[in-house]
């Protein structure tokens, strides 16, 4: 059996390999960065146009008051859940194969949350009044409406984003110290010195560090679940057919983990190549991630089926109409595409030969992400097109190029942030890889000793 990591890898080598990623990536890195920058340019251009002209240029209308922005918002929120899955849940479960890959997954969490947050603002008709939705004491005595699921969203995202950043940062402190110790004097050294907070790896620091990390991880798990449940509440708490579904919160959480895992596979493959992390991001870990993704895909498929079945079995005519509309109406191609990408494509992952086949996995992960993006769109748009009030049905609304441009730009924005992060901070956790190597070599030694004892 392949190993998750080579046990005899020298710790100094680990430092060297990871620190190299901060300085000398492959040329593809710069290509990605430039492409991302160009995409951001498109998005920003569209947003400036929309800001100045009015959100009507997105071609939304009555009843389609929400468009791709909200769908993409959910998509990015969903993507953020993978980091928590890998760093918090697997941490609690002592799955140590997460160690080489959790750092970038956490970074993904943070940056996809930031991207999602942007969409909330882009979506607003009066972006310049965004701060009205924040609960801050003011001389007018005005508060936001705490009953609104959108406000819960804001609170949850704020909590999640700040907790994620803290979690990411706290977990990175020992690595920052390594960077500090190894960098030549310069801005980087200053930055790392500042951020490392004087970490020396003393037993007191490690002791408190361990408890803190564990505690925050414990908080993060219910937080992550609550965040996507609350995003689901934006829909489930409303009265609209197709949204007012009890199973939405778990369904959203499953979808979030799913899309996050798929994104991790994509980024895994990219980082592995760009930063020459073949030693750490091994095929064995990839295989485990694929299996995890497959499992979550099946959970998602099940919850999807549950949603359809409960709608179908109910007497909620309006909700049933929306479901029929999804499957047979204007959105049918996208809906079936979603089913295909979300439920059929992951079946590939059940086959061993594909589980570590990089080209196949890359394609599959992109398709899964496409499927998950479509899923969010298929939650938002069909209900608007086919609500309670037949006079206000509109099956023909199509998002304008401005809308597509901003959605497109958001992927560039995410890639830009993520890639810059990976170049500035160690995207593989050095100290944890060392722990992994240490424990595995210990286990190996013990195993050998045990075997010797048998002989």
């Amino acid at each position: 059996m392949e190993k998750d990591i080579r046990e005899n890898i020298a710790w100094a080598q680990i430092n060297k390999d990871v620190l190299r990623s901060l300085e000398a990536p492959r040329p593809l890195y710069w290509v990605i960065l430039l492409v991302a920058l160009a995409m951001v340019g498109v998005g920003v251009g569209c947003e400036i146009y929309q800001y100045q002209t009015g959100i009507g240029v997105a071609n939304m209308n009555n009843p389609h008051v929400w468009g791709l922005y909200i769908a993409t918002f959910i998509f990015w929120i969903g993507m953020s859940h993978s980091g928590t899955l890998l760093s918090a849940i697997l941490h609690l479960m002592h799955a140590d194969w997460r160690k080489p890959i959790y750092r970038f997954a956490e970074a993904m969490t943070t940056f996809s949350l930031m991207t999602a947050g942007l969409f909330v603002m882009i979506h607003l008709g009066r972006l310049w009044q965004f701060y009205y939705s924040l609960p801050y004491p003011n001389e007018r005595g005005l508060w936001p409406n705490f009953q609104s699921p959108l406000l819960w969203d804001a609170m949850a995202i704020f909590t999640y984003l700040s907790s994620s950043i803290i979690f990411l940062y706290v977990g990175m402190i020992p690595d920052l110290a390594i960077c500090r110790d190894n960098m030549h004097p310069g801005w980087r050294k200053k930055l790392y010195s500042l951020l490392a907070l004087g970490w020396e790896g003393t037993d007191r620091q490690w002791r408190n560090f361990r408890v803190t990390y564990l505690t925050v991880a414990c908080f993060l798990i219910p937080l992550a679940v609550s965040v996507h449940s609350i995003v689901a509440s934006d829909f489930a708490m409303s009265q609209q057919p197709g949204w007012h579904v009890t199973s939405f919160p778990p369904y959203f959480v499953a979808g979030a983990l799913y899309s996050g895992c798929a994104a991790i596979i994509s980024l895994f493959i990219i980082l592995r190549y760009v930063f020459k992390f073949e030693e750490y991001m091994t095929l064995s870990i990839l295989k485990k991630t694929s299996r995890l993704t497959f499992a979550i895909a099946m959970v998602w498929t099940y919850l999807n089926a549950v949603e359809f079945a409960s709608v179908w079995y109910s007497h909620d005519e309006a909700a049933k109409d929306v479901l029929i509309q999804k499957a047979t109406g204007t959105y049918a191609p996208f809906w079936w595409m979603m089913i295909f990408c979300g439920s059929v494509v992951p079946l590939m992952l059940a086959f061993k030969r594909f589980q570590a086949n990089i080209p196949v996995l890359f394609a599959v992960s992109l398709l899964l992400n496409l499927g998950m993006w479509l899923e969010r769109w298929m939650i938002v748009a069909p209900t608007f097109s086919h609500g309670y009030y037949p006079w206000a049905w509109d099956h023909d609304q199509w998002p304008s190029l401005v809308q597509w441009g901003i959605v497109f730009g958001s992927f560039g924005w995410f890639a830009l942030l993520f890639m810059v992060f990976c170049k500035v901070f160690p995207s593989v956790s050095m100290y944890e890889v060392k722990e992994m190597v240490y424990h595995r070599s210990l286990a190996l030694k013990n195993g050998e000793t045990a075997e010797e004892g048998v002989h």
């Binding site: 020298a10 710790w11 100094a12 430092n15 609960p135 005595g141 005005l142 508060w143 409406n145 705490f146 009953q147 609104s148 406000l151 819960w152 609170m155 949850a156 704020f158 909590t159 700040s162 907790s163 803290i166 979690f167 706290v170 402190i173 020992p174 110290a177 390594i178 110790d181 190894n182 907070l197 004087g198 970490w199 020396e200 790896g201 003393t202 037993d203 007191r204 620091q205 490690w206 002791r207 408190n208 560090f209 361990r210 408890v211 803190t212 505690t215 925050v216 908080f219 993060l220 219910p222 937080l223 609550s226 609350i230 509440s233 100290y431 944890e432 060392k434 722990e435 240490y438």
Partner: protein, 175 residues
């Protein structure tokens, strides 16, 4: 009486552990076994037993933070509703419990996380000035044992370190 600081670096972790055991058991005059600090590149829970009973208090910070966060959340929100939104919304009461519970929950977590991290910084003594006896090797692949003792104990300490194959022993005469 001046105190001296010693930092010994080991690349064999078992030896380092053995050294600690010996230091603590040795009853060296002028050296308090609690004046021993382990510096390591990774976390060593198994060494902790050797280091003696050193409790962690972060969970108390967590508890207080979470409770405070939750209470603040609930009363801030309900108070704001009661004062400002003296208008009915959608047939719901002015202070509606389900949304307030959701927000209280979020604030509970937020308070918990923030105060835990605050507790971490306090308990771990961060941010800290780096001690003069520090080697970059400690963040790479070696374990450092930092001891401080009276001048009289130095020789005994050095002997124990050397016995356990310390790669390097740094010494500093402190205050």
């Amino acid at each position: 009486m001046s105190r001296h600081h010693l930092l010994a670096l080991f690349d064999n972790f078992d030896e380092a552990e053995a050294a600690i055991v010996e230091l603590r058991a040795g009853n060296i005059r002028g050296f308090n076994p609690d004046d021993l600090i382990l510096k390591s590149p990774i976390e060593h829970p198994e060494v902790e037993g050797v280091l003696g009973n050193k409790p962690v208090h972060i969970q108390w910070f967590t508890l207080v933070g979470a409770i405070l966060g939750g209470l603040l959340g609930f009363f801030l929100i309900s108070g704001a509703q009661a004062n400002f939104f003296a208008q009915i919304k959608g047939g719901k009461p002015i202070v509606p419990l389900p949304p307030n519970f959701v927000l209280t929950y979020e604030m509970f977590i937020l308070g918990g996380v923030f105060i835990t991290v605050l507790g971490f910084l306090i308990c771990a003594g961060l941010p800290a000035k780096r001690s003069p006896l520090y080697s970059a090797k400690v963040s790479e692949d070696q374990i450092g044992i930092l001891v401080s003792g009276d001048e009289s104990a130095i020789a005994a300490l050095k002997a124990i370190f050397s016995k356990h194959k310390a790669l390097e022993i740094q010494e500093e005469a402190g205050k």
